[in-house]
Symmetry: C2
Subunit: 373 residues, 2 copies
């Protein structure tokens, strides 16, 4: 689907734009304050008779009416689906609620879906858009920092299955991403920190200068300074777009985006979903993966305290739960990225450079001993 | 996913091959007798630890063991899922049975799905492959004539929803299609005729010479002559591939593949699914659409009796059920291809050339009067 996006001059002047180039499916990420209420944010989207906003009970009271008002200028009918809030609702029932609504309103194959919320809403709405009549357009309006940096690029959509996270899904690209930084003003501090974890990640895996920039600007980010947030979100999206552009279907390079995630997923699963936020588990997982990089001789010893200090300053946990080494290893062996039972870690091989490697169990055990309590 | 397909010289000498070129997702369709038991048919498929055969209760006793034996030479584990037979089971429950089996066996993202059966099995298996872990490879082994000519090309996968046929799905390409003509020996005569309907279709929409060839060879096709079947399946796949290659995502040209389908879908829905086979409804629908082409002055008068005679000889119905003109119009207005309530017909504009057009209700009524009883 080719979507022309004539960006109007009337966007707020502070708006940053990241153009994602993907053959015929390219799109723009708009980043900045004041975007929800700027008519220009909504111009040039795919034409259709109707749009359907998908959001949740937490986000709807804050932003639904404003988004609906903007869409009403472009679509004859604007419907909504209100889903319950939370990762535990990222399932077939919620997906079905979206599909049922589309069919009940006799929505045709041009209907535009609008995901208004965090990563869960974005993942589910994107998957519904991917499979309804084999594909309708969708727009991402991420309202959490994590969703703005992580779900905006890469086209991963999914729902969970009782037997596994993100087990059903599709690679499917949005027609546009509208990341209004003002929506972060209402974000709880834990969720802000969880978003910062994914931003911090991009430094060690791809950009040493960006790591230094984050260290110098972390206080501004924590104070929700709009200019600092705009740069952090933009640079994260650019790096992710560069990585994904070389490996859209996750055959190889893209795996480096999972720095900290192998340990992190084990923490999430081991504690039960919902105990720690995903970003919190990734933060702690990055400490462990940094230590493993040092113990394998890939990085000098001062890399570990540098990463731990930054992650701690961001308000993220740096000590994992004491699940036991055997349990950690078991959880990491069923990771989606493991192959034939061998655990594969994303490790730092120089500031701004990452790779996938295995590691001796004994060394992993040392890491777990050092960073769990 | 790039799949190298080194076609061995040891394929049966009568094998026809159609190479489908789709950037990185190209694949081969093998057509001929004796393919199921030819080791060469199964060489060069994507490597994986395991394969999962999806089939149904009717097909399994005939071919499951033979396919399993061939796959066992390439995959360490070969599992199976047995689904109930029939279009009414092309739903979320069957899809879930496939996914549950994949998860229960801890299948990774390289696991190869093998669809062994007709169009229903192919559509569901393809959709499961499209969404399991955001995409695993799959192989089509179509065992009906309809599936060999229709599901082999185009990448359409789907399940039905209580509110509509094929409402949830994806465009997703197989790694290979193995169309063994020997499997047609066990096909009931009604199903053979239903497959012939889709073959006949390719003449008027794209290839006048092929229409003449079908007329000259229909008796051989009905007698299940392998050489005649091989040519008919091959030419149908080639034409479909040519059309789809120009319009993979069904934005325009691809709609001509629906010649006879607008009237046909109305017959299927009006009678209730399962009364007529899809191909039977399409056969009768082609008579109606041929007549409409003549009444609109697009084709000379002798085109209608020529088409009606051929469709009748194939053992297909040429007179539709008397649902009433208003009911027909109502059913055709909710067709997935209608836009803003206007019915769009695929009409013949010269032998081997088709286009999409609207038509006055009064003319459509004349057509329905002439061909229903």
């Amino acid at each position: 689907m080719s979507v022309a996006v004539p960006l109007s001059l009337s966007l707020p002047p502070s708006t940053e734009t990241v153009a994602i180039a993907l053959d015929e499916r390219g799109y723009d990420i708009l980043i900045g304050p004041g975007l929800l209420d700027a008519p220009a944010s909504w111009q040039g989207l795919p034409k259709a008779a109707a749009a359907l906003i998908v959001t949740n009970e937490t986000v709807a009271p804050l932003y639904l009416d404003r988004v609906r008002a903007q869409l009403a200028a472009h679509y004859g009918r604007v419907d909504k689906v209100l889903l319950p809030d939370g990762e535990q609702h990222k399932d077939w029932n919620s997906l079905n609620a979206i599909v049922d609504r589309l069919l009940a309103t006799a929505s045709d194959r041009k209907t535009v879906l609008v995901a208004l919320g965090g990563g869960v809403i974005g993942d589910m709405t994107g998957f519904a858009a991917a499979i309804y009549m084999r594909g309708v357009p969708f727009v991402q309006v991420p309202t959490t920092l994590l969703a703005q940096v992580d779900s905006s690029v890469g086209g991963k959509t999914a729902i969970n299955h009782p037997l596994g996270k993100n087990m059903l899904g599709a690679f499917y690209q949005p027609a546009r991403v509208i990341a209004d930084l003002d929506t972060l003003d209402t974000l709880p501090p834990r969720e802000l920190a969880a978003g910062l974890a994914e931003i911090i990640k991009y430094g060690p895996i791809a950009d040493a200068d960006f790591l230094a920039w984050i260290e110098a600007n972390l206080d501004a980010l924590l104070a929700r300074d709009k200019a600092a947030l705009a740069h952090a979100v933009k640079r994260s999206c650019e790096i992710k777009a560069w990585v994904v552009g070389q490996d859209e279907r996750e055959q190889g390079l893209r795996a480096i985006l999972n720095f900290g995630h192998t340990f992190g997923h084990a923490i999430e699963t081991g504690l039960g979903y919902g105990e720690w936020l995903h970003g919190e588990a990734v933060g702690c997982g990055m400490v462990m993966a940094s230590d493993l990089s040092v113990r394998l001789g890939l990085m000098p010893a001062d890399f570990l305290p540098r990463m731990r200090r930054l992650i701690e300053r961001a308000g993220l946990p740096v000590v994992g739960p004491r699940l036991g080494v055997e349990r950690y290893l078991e959880l990491m062996r069923v990771d989606k990225k493991s192959e034939g039972g061998e655990i594969r870690f994303v490790l730092i091989e120089g500031l701004g450079k990452a790779g996938m490697r295995g590691a001796p169990d004994a060394l992993v055990a040392q890491v777990l001993d050092a960073h769990t309590a």
